[in-house]
C-alpha cells in the first residue's frame, strides 16, 4: 500500500472546514441543549436544566400513537421497497427489453423529484380510484418513493457480485432458484441491510409525500408538524432529540456492519497472491 504524500497542511482550509462542520451541527446542538431548558425555547443562555419536557413527552399518548403508526408504515415500506427494488435491480442488471432505459429513469425519478409531485399525483390517483386516504395510502406513497433507494443500493451490490459464483453454482448442479437463495441473496446481505436501514429512516422522516396522502391517523412527522403549526412547545425539542439519538444509533449499527464487510474484503486483498 502506497502512502499518499499529498496530505498537505492548510490551516485556512482547515478552519473553513471546521466552520462548515459547526454550521451543520449548530442547530442540532442547540436543539438538544434547549430540550433540557426549563424556560423552553428562546433566550440565551439556557438556564434551569430539567428533564421536565421528557417527562411530559412520556405521557403524551398521541405522540406515541403516531410513533406506532410511523413504525408500521416504515416496516411495511422496507418490505415493499426491498422486494420490488431487488426485482428492479435484477431486471436492470440481467434482462433486456424494449423501453428499458425509460424504465430505469422512471424507477430512479422519485429520488430527485420534489415530494410534492409524487404526493399530489398519488393523491389524484387515490381520489380517482375511490380509495380513502389512510395509512394504507401513506404506505403506498412511501413505497413508491423509496423503491428508488432500494434499486440504487441493490444494483450497486449486484454489480460487485462475481458472476462466476452464480455460474459455479449452476455448474455444480443447483437450479436457478436454488442459486438465487443460496448464493445471490447471501452475497447481497450487506446491500439489503444498508438499503433497509436507509429506507426505514427515510420513511420515518417522510413529510412531503405523506402530507397529501394522510388520513385520520398521523405519522410522527405529521403529528409534530401539526403541533408546530399551533405553536412551539419545548416538548418538540425533546421528541427531536430522541429522534436524533435513535438516528445516530442506526448509523452506528450500519457503520459497524460496513466496517465488518470492509475488513473481510481487506483481508481478502492481502491474502491474494
Amino acid at each position: 500500500m502506497s502512502e499518499r504524500r499529498t496530505t498537505r497542511r492548510s490551516p485556512l482550509l482547515a478552519l473553513y472546514a471546521a466552520s462548515v462542520f459547526a454550521f451543520i451541527y449548530l442547530p442540532i446542538v442547540v436543539l438538544i441543549l434547549y430540550s433540557f431548558n426549563r424556560d423552553g425555547v428562546g433566550g440565551f443562555p439556557p438556564r434551569h436544566l430539567t428533564l421536565n419536557w421528557y417527562a411530559q413527552l412520556l405521557v403524551d399518548s398521541s405522540i406515541w400513537d403516531s410513533v406506532l403508526n410511523s413504525l408500521m408504515v416504515a416496516s411495511g415500506s422496507v418490505v415493499l421497497s426491498l422486494t420490488l427494488g431487488l426485482l428492479a435491480a435484477l431486471a436492470l442488471d440481467r434482462a433486456d427489453f424494449p423501453g428499458k432505459r425509460l424504465f430505469r429513469r422512471l424507477v430512479l425519478l422519485p429520488l430527485i423529484l420534489p415530494g410534492i409531485i409524487t404526493g399530489l399525483s398519488l393523491l389524484m390517483s387515490a381520489v380517482f380510484a375511490g380509495v380513502p386516504l389512510s395509512l394504507l395510502t401513506v404506505f403506498l406513497g412511501h413505497g413508491t418513493s423509496l423503491i428508488s433507494v432500494a434499486t440504487t443500493e441493490l444494483f450497486a451490490g449486484l454489480q460487485k457480485l462475481d458472476r462466476a459464483q452464480e455460474e459455479a453454482s449452476l455448474d455444480l448442479g443447483a437450479t436457478p432458484w436454488q442459486t438465487f437463495w443460496r448464493i445471490t441473496l447471501p452475497n447481497l446481505k450487506l446491500s439489503l441491510i444498508a438499503a433497509g436501514l436507509l429506507i426505514f429512516t427515510l420513511s420515518m422522516d417522510e413529510i412531503a409525500v405523506t402530507f397529501f396522502l394522510i388520513g385520520r391517523d398521523n405519522t410522527l412527522p405529521l403529528e409534530i408538524w401539526g403541533r408546530l403549526r399551533r405553536g412551539i412547545t419545548p416538548e418538540i425539542n425533546a421528541v427531536s432529540t430522541l429522534i436524533f439519538v435513535v438516528s445516530v444509533g442506526l448509523i452506528v449499527i450500519w457503520y459497524h456492519l460496513r466496517s465488518r464487510s470492509l475488513g473481510a474484503q481487506a483481508r481478502e486483498l492481502i491474502e491474494k497472491p
Binding site: D162, A164, Q165, E167, A168, S169, L170, D171, L172, G173, A174, T175, Q178, R182, I183, P186, N187, K189, A264, R267, E268, E271, K272, P273
Partner: protein
C-alpha cells in the same frame, strides 16, 4: 518431467470411446464469429488441452460445453446423448473457474459439499465424499476455513475438490493455474497431472501457455481465430507442425520461405535437393536442429551454410545465436553451452529437420 506413455494417445483413442463429441459447432456474438465450425472428439480418460491466444475462442468453447452459452450452430454430444440442449445444472460436467469462484460466505467444506447438498445427497454420504475429496487435494486441515483465509494455491485446490466431489464425467479447467506464481505453478502442474492419472476422469484444460500444454496433455488442440489449427499429441505437434502458425506458437522456430524449382528448394542462402513439385514453400526449422559444423565434409542428407554471428545469448545449458546468412536472412540457432563465439562460422542441419508447413 513426467514420463509420457510409450504409445502416442492417437493409437489409444481409436480403441477408447469418444466421451464428448463437438460437431461443427459455431458461435457468434453479435456480428463477431468467435468459433467457426469446430469439430473434435474427446476420448474417455484423456487429458486434452485447448491451447490458443486470447481471442482464439478456447474459453468460449469451454463455456459452450459447460452450458453457460448456447452454440449458434452445430451440436455437442456426450455419451450418446445431446448435451447442448441441457442447462448447466443438468450436465454431468463440472468446471474449475479461472478465479476459482469460491463462495465467500461458506467454509471450504461447505463449498466442496455444495454440489452434493443441492441435489439432496444424504448427509452421511455427503460428509464422507467431502472428506475424500479434501484429502485428494491435501486440504483436510483447512476444511473449516473461509476462502478469504486461504492462499491462492489453497483456494485452487478447494475449487478442484468442489468440482471433483461430484464425480463428473468431464472436468473443465479454465486456465486454473494462470493466477499462481511461477514456482507454485510448476508444482501444481505436476500435481494436476498425477491427480488426473490417479482418478482417471477426463480433463479438458484451457491455457495460453504452450509449455504448460505440452507438459500436461495427452493431446493438444490448437485454436486460432475460432478455428481448429491442429490437434495432435505434444511430441507430434512439436516435431511435425502442420502450419507456420503452429510452428511459431509452439516452441521456437525459424520460418524459411522460398520456392522449389527443378527439385531444388531455395530459401535465401540455403539450398538443398527436394523431390517435390515446383512452387512457393515454407519450412519450419527448429533452432536446436542447427549445429556448428565440425568438419568440412558434407553428407548428402545435410545442408551446410556459412553465417556471421550477430548475437549470442547465454542460457545456462545452451547458447542461442542469431546468425546472419547474408542479404538480411537471420536465423536462430541453439547449441549446447560452449563459451563465447564470434565472426563467421559454418553451420549444418539435416534436410529432414526442415519441416514443410502450410501458411
Amino acid at each position: 518431467m513426467s514420463a509420457s506413455p510409450a504409445n502416442p494417445p492417437e493409437q489409444t483413442t481409436a480403441e477408447a470411446t469418444a466421451l464428448l463429441e463437438v460437431r461443427s459447432v459455431g458461435k457468434r456474438f453479435g456480428s463477431t464469429q468467435v468459433l467457426k465450425n469446430i469439430s473434435l472428439d474427446i476420448a474417455s480418460g484423456e487429458f486434452l488441452t485447448l491451447l490458443g491466444e486470447s481471442g482464439s475462442g478456447k474459453t468460449t468453447l469451454l463455456r459452450l460445453i459447460a452450458g453457460f452459452e448456447q452454440p449458434s450452430a452445430g451440436e455437442i454430444w456426450m455419451g450418446g446423448e445431446r448435451l447442448d440442449i441441457l442447462p448447466p445444472y443438468k450436465r454431468p460436467v463440472n468446471t474449475v473457474f479461472q478465479n476459482y469462484a469460491l463462495f465467500p460466505h461458506l467454509s471450504a467444506r461447505d463449498n466442496v459439499a455444495y454440489g452434493l447438498r443441492v441435489k439432496g445427497t444424504p448427509a452421511s454420504e455427503t460428509s464422507s465424499r467431502v472428506e475424500e475429496a479434501l484429502s485428494l487435494v491435501k486440504m483436510q486441515g483447512f476444511a473449516a476455513s473461509r476462502p478469504s483465509q486461504l492462499s491462492g494455491g489453497q483456494q485452487q485446490r478447494i475449487a478442484l475438490a468442489r468440482a471433483l466431489v461430484n464425480r463428473p464425467q468431464l472436468l473443465l479447467l479454465d486456465e486454473p493455474l494462470s493466477a499462481l506464481d511461477a514456482n507454485l505453478r510448476k508444482q501444481m502442474q505436476s500435481e494436476l497431472k498425477a491427480l488426473q492419472r490417479e482418478i482417471g476422469i477426463t480433463f479438458l484444460f484451457v491455457t495460453h501457455d504452450q509449455e504448460e500444454a505440452m507438459a500436461l496433455s495427452d493431446r493438444i488442440a490448437l485454436l486460432r481465430d475460432g478455428a481448429l489449427e491442429q490437434i495432435a499429441w505434444p511430441r507430434e505437434i512439436y516435431a511435425r507442425p502442420a502450419t507456420a502458425y503452429t510452428a511459431q506458437f509452439i516452441g521456437q522456430t525459424n520460418l524459411l520461405r522460398g520456392e522449389i524449382r527443378g527439385s531444388i528448394a531455395t530459401c535465401g542462402a540455403l539450398r538443398w535437393p527436394l523431390e517435390e513439385a515446383d512452387g512457393p514453400v515454407i519450412f519450419s526449422l527448429r533452432p536446436e536442429a542447427i549445429r556448428l559444423s565440425a568438419d568440412g565434409k558434407r553428407q548428402a542428407s545435410e545442408v551446410k551454410f556459412r553465417a556471421v554471428i550477430r548475437q549470442q545469448l547465454y542460457g545456462g545449458s545452451s547458447e542461442t545465436l542469431e546468425v546472419d546468412c547474408g542479404n538480411g536472412q537471420m536465423l536462430r540457432v541453439r547449441i549446447p553451452a560452449c563459451g563465447p563465439l564470434a565472426g563467421e562460422r559454418e553451420f549444418v542441419f539435416s534436410i529432414s529437420d526442415a519441416i514443410r508447413v502450410k501458411e
